[in-house]
């Protein structure tokens, strides 16, 4: 039993230490990195380093872009996933089960391999370099649909919908007045999961955006791949870019973990 706690504590330490150490480095001066032994406590240089980040790359714009992109994607995913989840869990229509199976199967499709035509499509639409290229393809995804289907089939009583029908609700009316309010707890978790993954998305934004109009991750990568290996600068940027997520996670970590585990049970 004691061994169990010891092991888990060690794992927790290894999970947290790299993040802690990045803050240590980010709050030091570059010269401190050459010390042996390496510094283990934060220094007083953090805000000066962060200021340097803002001088080196358009970080304010990057933060704004990331908030817009991750925010719009989250709202859209919550809405469209609840809509589709409502249909899959509570409405009867031909081909429903087959379509749900197809939806789940698409999660296995390695979509990254289609990135070249996707890029060509963005050129055709004249969306390269803009946030549209990030937002539109991500408006809804299979995981969200599956997640909301699972939740609604479990948590939304069919009698409630029948009562609504008797009162003369159209299907859309049911969705608006009955389903949406009932879906709120799960949709909120889905929204946070979506926000975090959109915020952290790197590869597609790198391909389709330019360094002068980046998201946070693209800006961080251009910080890190500068011509001089300036770890302090890179890690100061990393700390600021990760902060919003750490905040969300600190506040709602329990719900987020519950959401991941619920989505997984029948996956």
């Amino acid at each position: 039993m004691r061994l169990r706690y010891l092991t888990l504590t060690a794992v927790a330490f290894f999970s947290a230490f790299p993040l802690y150490y990045s803050v240590v480095v980010a709050s030091r001066h570059n010269s401190a990195l050459a010390q042996v032994p390496p510094p283990l406590l934060p220094g007083g240089n953090f805000f000066a380093n962060v200021a340097r980040v803002f001088d080196t790359v358009p970080f304010g714009l990057a933060l704004l872009n990331s908030v817009i992109v991750a925010g719009s994607i989250s709202v859209a995913v919550m809405f469209f996933s609840t809509l589709a989840g409502f249909a899959f869990s509570k409405l009867r229509f031909r081909g429903r089960n087959a379509m749900l199976v197809i939806t789940v199967a698409t999660m296995m499709v390695p979509a990254q391999l289609g990135i070249i035509p996707l890029y060509m499509l963005m050129i055709k639409l004249e969306w390269t370099g803009t946030n549209y290229a990030l937002i539109v393809p991500a408006l809804v995804n299979a995981f969200g649909v599956f997640f909301m289907t699972q939740y609604l089939s479990r948590a939304l009583p069919t009698e409630l919908l029948e009562a609504g029908r008797v009162d003369g609700c159209t299907t859309w009316g049911l969705f608006w007045h009955v389903v949406l309010p009932a879906a709120r707890p799960a949709a909120a978790v889905l929204g946070m999961l979506t926000f975090m993954s959109a915020w952290n998305d790197y590869f597609w934004p790198l391909v389709v955006l330019t360094p002068d109009n980046p998201t946070v991750q693209v800006a961080l990568s251009s910080l890190a791949s500068g011509y001089v290996n300036d770890y302090v600068l890179g890690l100061a940027g990393t700390a600021v870019g990760t902060l919003p997520l750490v905040l969300i996670f600190a506040l709602f970590g329990k719900q987020i973990i519950g959401g991941i585990m619920q989505g997984a049970v029948k996956g």
Binding site: L113, S225, Y227, Q262
Partner: protein, 303 residues
């Protein structure tokens, strides 16, 4: 009449956004990749010439392509196999009454909330040759300074550590979710029969959560075959000077996805890169298929 129209049509309208979006931005690009791969197709030229399978011929004769294939498999196996064993074990440790249960779970998921860019920036520093913390710790045991990014084996190891750090806890939570659905009575009976902790894990837990294990193995395989951000950023962070699309000066850690990226977005040779994508797709299907067959045979009962 209006009522039947409403109940008949609206379900399709509600699921339509997903299918339309997937068709336009998921399925179509993937299929179109095959078409592009049959052409001499660059970003700059207006004209595309049909060349049949020529791109594939060039690809299969390119040593760098096979180098990337080897690197992908090596990093994939190094990062995934120990990770899944560790994740199952951690889930097993968490799967009972514990104090600080939530705290432990949160700490497991923290690395997964960290972006891949942040992970590589942080670990590039930790794996630094001269002032990195990992070499400092190893020096206590008499090890010399290791230039992690320079060698094939060492760079693969470093990249695998980053991937494992980010994903082990996440997968542990997925396994934990499955383990919580295993009936408690099974363990109680096994305890009465005198089966130890490890024996219970192998004989009861693993067989009972087999569908989840198969699922995680397949998803991890598909993910591992497409690894790109880690080697891309590791190359630029450790060797300095722009983004290193070659995965180190000797291509010692260039993965397949990075090979595709190099040809598509630095040389803008779309035709050739599409051929590479399509072969990669084949590899993903084969790897997923093989691992499906292997993981399906996991029965436990070794001990």
């Amino acid at each position: 009449m209006r009522h039947t129209l409403d109940t008949r049509v609206s379900p399709y309208a509600y699921v339509a956004p997903f299918f339309l979006l997937f068709a336009a931005f998921g399925l179509f690009p993937l299929a179109y990749t095959a078409w592009v791969s049959l052409h001499e197709w660059t970003l700059l030229e207006e004209e595309q010439t049909f060349v049949g399978l020529r791109n594939y011929g060039t690809l299969l004769a390119d040593g760098y392509f096979w180098n990337a294939t080897f690197n992908t498999l090596s990093i994939g196996i190094l990062s995934t196999a120990p990770q899944l064993v560790l994740a199952i074990w951690l889930a097993h440790l968490l799967n009972r009454r514990l104090r600080f249960q939530t705290l432990f779970r949160i700490s497991l998921l923290v690395p997964n909330v960290t972006s891949v860019v942040a992970v590589v920036v942080i670990f590039s520093q930790l794996f630094g040759r001269d002032f990195g913390m990992i070499n400092w710790v190893l020096s206590w045991f008499g090890a010399g300074r290791i230039d992690w990014a320079a060698g094939t084996a060492t760079s693969h190891l470093a990249l695998s550590v980053m991937i494992m750090w980010r994903w082990t806890g996440y997968n542990a939570l997925i396994f934990l979710a499955a383990m919580q659905a295993v009936p408690r009575e099974l363990y109680e009976a096994a305890t009465l029969d005198g089966a130890g902790n490890l024996r219970q894990l192998v004989r009861i837990t693993v067989p009972m959560i087999r569908p989840t294990i198969i699922f995680v193995v397949i998803v991890s395989t598909i993910g591992a075959m497409q690894i790109i951000a880690e080697p891309l950023l590791f190359g630029s962070g450790t060797t300095g000077g722009g983004t290193m699309v070659t995965g180190g000066p000797d291509r010692q850690f260039q993965t397949l996805a990075l090979y595709v990226y190099e040809h598509a977005f630095t040389k803008f040779d779309f035709g050739y890169a599409s051929a590479a994508s399509w072969v990669m797709f084949l590899f993903v299907v084969i790897a997923a298929g093989v691992n499906f067959l292997v993981s399906r045979r996991v029965k436990g009962g070794v001990i």
